[in-house]
């Protein structure tokens, strides 16, 4: 059992992290997008900190969501093209474990850096001090949900030539609860309310996604590869 965990989850996690490390420039693009667009907001909207503070939480969350959506498209694409996905489908191990490894690697290379850099953006968008901790907590949990649900969409669209738009349409509805409760966590904290309930709902969403999404992604890959 330990061996199957190692050759499934950990092996794919390690491999995808190594691949991301070898293509650092490409792997950093969601983060660069996140930071760049967020610096444009004060220029385009208003540099006035009182008004920026009102929209800061929502803006950071929208950027995080778009940055994840941009990168999740490529989760299975290169594996599909070079035949690795075919090899993955015929491993004797249970398919969801390697997929969870891939998804974890995706979160470690997109969601986690976004979360870590978000306080900087909070500063740029004059986020009130009480919002920082809830923002970090909600982004850490929320981006993990985004990676997990995004993987299902990526698995469904992997065999299409231009699956990007379809992928966005498929996963956008599933992203809505995440962004609603993510921004709610931050705005509740700024308004001086108890911010733990929306965060708890994010936690519940995360628990549901980590249990269901690898299974759904595995099923989706079996369907899309069957032609």
């Amino acid at each position: 059992m330990a061996n199957s965990l190692n050759s499934g989850f950990l092996a794919w996690l390690r491999r995808d992290l190594l691949l991301a490390y070898r293509r650092r420039g490409e792997a950093a693009s969601p983060l660069v997008f996140f930071v760049m667009v967020s610096t444009l907001i004060p220029l385009g909207l208003t540099p006035e900190s009182a008004r920026l503070a009102e929209v800061a939480a929502g803006m950071i969350w929208v950027m995080a969501l778009l940055a994840t959506l941009l990168s999740v498209d490529g989760l299975f694409a290169s594996d599909y093209q070079d035949g690795s996905l075919e090899q993955l489908l015929i491993t004797p191990q249970l398919l969801p474990m390697p997929l969870l490894g891939k998804i974890t690697a995706h979160w470690l290379t997109t969601g986690l850096p976004l979360t870590l850099v978000s306080p900087l953006l909070g500063l740029m968008l004059s986020l009130p001090a009480s919002g920082y901790l809830p923002m970090i907590c909600s982004l850490a949990l929320g981006t993990a949900c985004l990676s997990l649900t995004g993987a299902v969409g990526a698995a469904l669209t992997v065999s299409l030539r231009k699956g990007g738009l379809l992928l966005s349409l498929l996963v956008m509805p599933l992203y809505m609860p995440v962004i609603i409760f993510g921004t709610a966590t931050v705005t509740y904290a700024i308004d001086g309310l108890n911010w733990l309930p929306p965060l708890a709902i994010l936690g519940a969403l995360f628990a549901a996604s980590i249990a269901l999404c690898p299974l759904a992604a595995a099923g989706a890959l079996r369907i899309t590869s069957a032609n």
Binding site: L18, D82, E86, Q87, L89, T91
Partner: protein, 213 residues
């Protein structure tokens, strides 16, 4: 007790979008036997191999491994199988050694041969820590074929293994295949090449009836 072949395929068929791609495929392989699938381009060689790997589900028919349907012994069947597809599954940004280590880790039955020795065996000694994007197409194929040196799986499914391989590579591959057959394994491969192997049978795929020939 009746003797059941290692691999038996009964009446296998596959349809894609209501078009029949393969029909009435019957194969039977005892240990030490090799089948070469022949057929024109587009006659379904790759499809047949992918059906055998269970990556594709047949629309009719059954595949038996040691007498039982592969649906019932999936883990044993897949652990005892090695498939090298049309795409060599080589990651361009990884080195030859990392690629091979990765492929070997995901397969169940392996021998004690080291990664470096396997790469040397396919003529890639000295290339082990060079990223694969600097290697040629034939060398990519050799990285994938190095798995054959390490694998202990009994069933080998090889889709056009000789693509982009030079003459020495072909004769090396032939001797490795013979070695595998002599030790009781079976091979199903698709190739347009004429092979000098014992116990070789050819299986020709014809376009299904109803199609213009």
């Amino acid at each position: 007790m009746p003797h059941s072949p290692l691999l038996k395929v009964e009446n296998l068929a596959f349809e894609r979008d209501d078009n029949s791609v393969l029909e009435n495929i019957d194969l039977s392989l005892n240990s030490g036997e090799i089948i070469q699938i022949e057929g024109a381009n587009g006659s379904g060689k790759t499809t047949l191999l992918r059906l055998l790997t269970s990556a594709l589900q047949p629309s009719a028919g059954n595949i038996f491994y040691k007498g039982s349907p592969i649906g019932e012994c999936r883990y044993q069947y897949l652990s005892d199988m090695l498939y090298i597809g049309h795409q060599p599954a080589v990651k361009l940004t990884l080195t030859a050694e990392e690629n091979l280590r990765w492929m070997v880790n995901s397969s169940a039955k392996t021998n004690q041969l080291s990664i470096a020795d396997a790469l040397a065996g396919v003529g890639l000694a000295g290339y082990s820590d060079i990223p694969c994007y600097t290697l040629s197409a034939g060398q990519h194929r050799r990285v994938a074929l190095a798995r054959l040196l390490i694998s202990e799986a009994a069933l080998w499914y090889l889709d056009e293994p000789f693509t982009a391989i030079d003459k020495q590579g072909v004769s090396f591959l032939e001797s490795r295949l013979q070695e595998h057959l002599d030790s009781g394994g079976v091979v199903v491969l698709s190739s347009h090449q004429d092979l000098a192997l014992n116990n070789l049978r050819k299986y020709s795929l014809n376009p299904p009836a109803g199609q213009v020939q």
